[in-house]
Each structure stands twice: as C-alpha cells, then as structure tokens.
Amino acid sequence: MPRRIVIGIRGIGHRVIDSVWRLGRASRFFMLMLLKSTTSLRRFNLVIREIYFTGVLSLIIIVVSGLFVGMVLGLQGYETLQKYGSESAVGTLVALSLVRELGPVVAALLFASRAGSAITAEIGLMKATEQLAAMEMMAVDPIARVVAPRFWAGVISMPFLAAMFSTVGIFGGYLVTVVLIGVDEGSFWSQMQNTVDFRYDIVNGVIKTCVFGVAVTAIAVFEGYDAPPTAEGVSGATTRTVVTSSLAILGLDFILTAFMFRGMS
C-alpha cells in the first residue's frame, strides 16, 4: 500500500514537472516566434496566403453560426422583454450581447475548432513527415517560414471574423424580431444606436477578439510544433489545441470582462 502511494505521488510529481517544462518551452517558443516574425512581415504575401486558409475558409461556419445565434437571441430576448412591455429594447439586447460577449467568445471558439485544429494538424504533420527538418537543412528557419505567418494570419483574421459574427448575428436578430414577429423597426435600430457605445462596447469587444486571436493561434502553432512526430502525437496535439484554446478563451474572457465592464453602465 505505501508503495502505491509513493508511485502515485511520484506520478503527480512527474506530471507537474512535465507541465512546467512544457510551459517553459511554450514561452521560449513564443518569444522566438515574435523575434523571427520580421520575415513574415517583410514577405507579407506569406501571411496573406495563410489568411485565406485560416480566415477566409472559416467564414462559412462563422456566418452561419452568427446568424443562428442572433436569431435565437432575438427570440429569447423578445420572449422575456415582452413580459415587461419592453420588446422595443430587443435590438439593444441582441447588439450588446453579441458585441460584448457572444461575438468575440463564440467566434473564437469556432475559430479554435475550425482553424486552430487545422493549423496544429498541418504543422504537426509537416514535422512527422520531416518537412520541417528538410527546411532546416535547406537553411530556412521553419519558425520564421512556417509558424510565424500562420500565427500572424490568425491574429489578423480573428477580429474580422468576430466582427462578421456580430454583424450577421444582429441581422439574424432583426430578421426574427422585426421581420417575423413584427417589433417596430425604428425602435429596434434607434434603441440599439442610443445604447451601444463605440468606445465602451465595440472597442472593448475588439480588444477581446485580439487577445483571443493571439491565445488561440499561439496555442495552435505551439501544439503543432511540439507534437510528437507520430499519428497519435498529431491527433493528441490537435485535441489539446481545441481543449486548451477553449478553456483559455473562457478564462481570458472572464478576466477581460472583469477589467473592462466592472461597475459601469
């Protein structure tokens, strides 16, 4: 029995040490990537190519999800607000929910599952098939040539995707509440315009999306680069990207919201 306890404690110790090592490797990798980003920024066509794969190809899932989330928000908002005779405020509810929270958070979660996992799998497979080693042997740094362009493409794409999500979501809310249910169109838009503040709501939402973009893409590229070069290694890394990114998004969202919106409005 004591032997089992010793083995258990040793196992926990190993896991803690491994996690600390990994965190150290991730930090070092992130700093290296930032230092080597000059190549990406100088040869911006590399980043544009990746923006197409990570950003443009994520548009469909973002637009469709945004539309449905907006429609559900409209329905639920109308259902509750009409009890108090405030159904004209449904536009405000839809817009604020999307711009402050749902837009950045849900778009980032979708981005992590669609583009983050793809980035990890691609870099992991490039490692497993020795493409990164081949690049090193050709005197081309894989962090500068492969990793950094994907990172910056993700960081640039994320705010635009979240903006698209919120915009389409507001349109979805409009479709359900104004077109289908018959809420007054004038009050829907005017209440929204009066209540949504550019600096306080929209800029804070954009800041959130930028932070999420950095977090998701940094996790995705690190997991891919650090993946063991086997089929199991790459599949495990892809799963870790989605799980870690999702938890990071939700945790960061709470911290950012606490700093941005405490005790105001």
Binding site: T129, Q131, A139
Partner: protein, 270 residues
C-alpha cells in the same frame, strides 16, 4: 582516398543520455566521391548524418566540412554552410502544400534574388535531370514513392551543393525505381562534382554505385574499403552483412537467459 578531403570526421562520440550511439568514429570523405555508410537498423547511421548536418552536436570529437568544425559554428554560420549542402530524406519530405515545381524552386526563391523567368528555366533543368520535367505541375500527393524521391533529389541539387547526404534513399522502392535512384546519385555526383554520402542498408544496390564503404556496428566502424574489397572480405561481420546471413557476429537471438532455464527445464534435459 587521396583527393582533396571535403568531410573529415575525427574521434566522433555521441550519446543520448548514458546510451552511447557512436564511439570514436574516424572518416575522411574526398570531393567528387560517393561514400556509403552501412550498418544494421539502429546502429547510428542516421545520427551520423545529423551530426554532419549540424542538427545535433557531438559529445566529443568533431566533424569538419571544408575546413570548418560544424558544431562550433553559430546558427547563422551553420545556415550559411547548409546552403552548400543538401539532404535527401528517407521518404523525400516534399512540401505537401507546394507543387513539384515550387518544391524545386523553394531554395532558389528563399536564398537568391533570381528573376522568376530564370528560376523557371533552372527548375525545369533540374527536373529534366531526374526525368520529371513533364511532372512539374503535379502535387506531391499525385506522385509515386519513386517519383517523390526523384523530385526530392532535384530539389536537393537546386543550388548545386558541394555535399549531398542521402538517408536510406532505396527504402520502399520497386526494382526499377531503385535502379533509377542509384544511377541518378552516381550520375549527378559525377556531373556536378559534388560529394555524396549514402546511408543505407541496401548492400547490392549501393555497392554498384559507391566509391568507398564504411560499415558501422554497435557505434564503431567495423570495416571499410572499396566495393571490391568489401565483396571479397572474409571479415565475419562484413561477410554476414554483405551476404545477408542470418547468424554470425550479429546474432539471430537477442541476449537472454539460457533457453533451458527460461523454459524451466531440469538440468538433466537441458
């Protein structure tokens, strides 16, 4: 081996933790020759290539290429040196998101300022040398194993290197592709005047094309010589390896307790 030396390996040792992989390796590789490094799986052949390419540093000893000690170079200096060398990986390691043409053009675009029209001509010439000019628009997924290896060969000669390292270039190829790759290695080495280091355990194919052979066993050089010397060698290890004999200095059985005691037989039966 009298011509000018390109690669010199002196008392090279390498260990993973406490496990010694290479123990006191000495080699000289002249310019313009094809050198084979042979040995069983896991004997340290690929590690030796990684040491020559500067991917790992030795525990002691050194690898010198064109007079420069590889592990003493800074990263920038190492990258400068790697522009003069190339490596053909076991399965080609072609960039799967780039076409055959772009794969071969990759280094030219990364390291030179050549105009695109000149790059086009050079790429087609390199592809023509390996017989795949007509396949320049294909993607790597559309190529057979042998074709992928030939494209990788065209990519590795893109900048006319001084040295090419081949890691198991014959693995998994049909007899025709095997012969094609073997002849290409020989022809390109002669035509470009470079040095080729072929790590392989394909004895028959490599003995046809190489100038000199080193055998590595358990981390040391077990034998070396020209292909003729190797074929005629009566050294037990070389004989077993060249003729593919099941038992010999490399035993069939992994070290174990006595068979009788493992089967719990009484001494009278053992």
């Amino acid at each position: 081996m009298t011509s000018e030396t390109l690669v010199e390996i002196n008392d090279l040792n390498f260990s993973y933790g406490r496990h010694a992989i290479l123990k006191g390796i000495n080699m000289t590789m002249p310019r313009g020759k094809v050198i084979a490094i042979m040995g069983g799986s896991g004997c340290g052949k690929t590690t030796l290539l990684r040491l020559i390419g500067g991917a790992v540093a030795p525990s002691s000893g050194y690898v010198k290429i064109a007079g420069q000690v590889v592990h003493e170079l800074s990263r920038d200096e190492l990258f400068q040196m790697r522009r003069k060398m190339s490596m053909l990986f076991q399965f080609g390691a072609l960039f799967t998101d780039l076409s055959v043409f772009d794969n071969v053009a990759f280094q030219m675009r990364e390291h030179t300022n050549l105009p695109e029209s000149l790059i086009r001509d050079l790429v087609l010439m390199k592809l023509n040398a390996v017989g795949l000019r007509g396949a320049h628009k294909l993607m790597p997924a559309e190529l057979s194993g042998g074709m992928a290896r030939r494209v990788a060969l065209a990519r590795s000669i893109a900048l006319d290197p001084l040295l090419i390292m081949y890691d198991e270039p014959f693995t998994g190829l049909d007899p025709i592709s095997l012969s094609v790759i073997g002849n290409l290695i020989r022809r390109l080495t002669d035509a470009l005047g470079m040095t080729s280091i072929v790590v392989t355990h394909d004895v028959q194919e490599s003995l046809k094309i190489v100038d000199y052979v080193y055998f590595i066993s358990e981390g040391v050089i077990a034998a070396h010589g020209t292909p003729t010397e190797v074929r005629e060698s009566i050294a037990p290890f070389v004989h077993q390896f060249v003729h593919g004999e099941e038992d010999g200095p490399v035993p069939f059985h992994y070290p174990a307790e006595s068979y009788a005691s493992d089967l719990r037989l009484r001494s009278s039966f053992a």
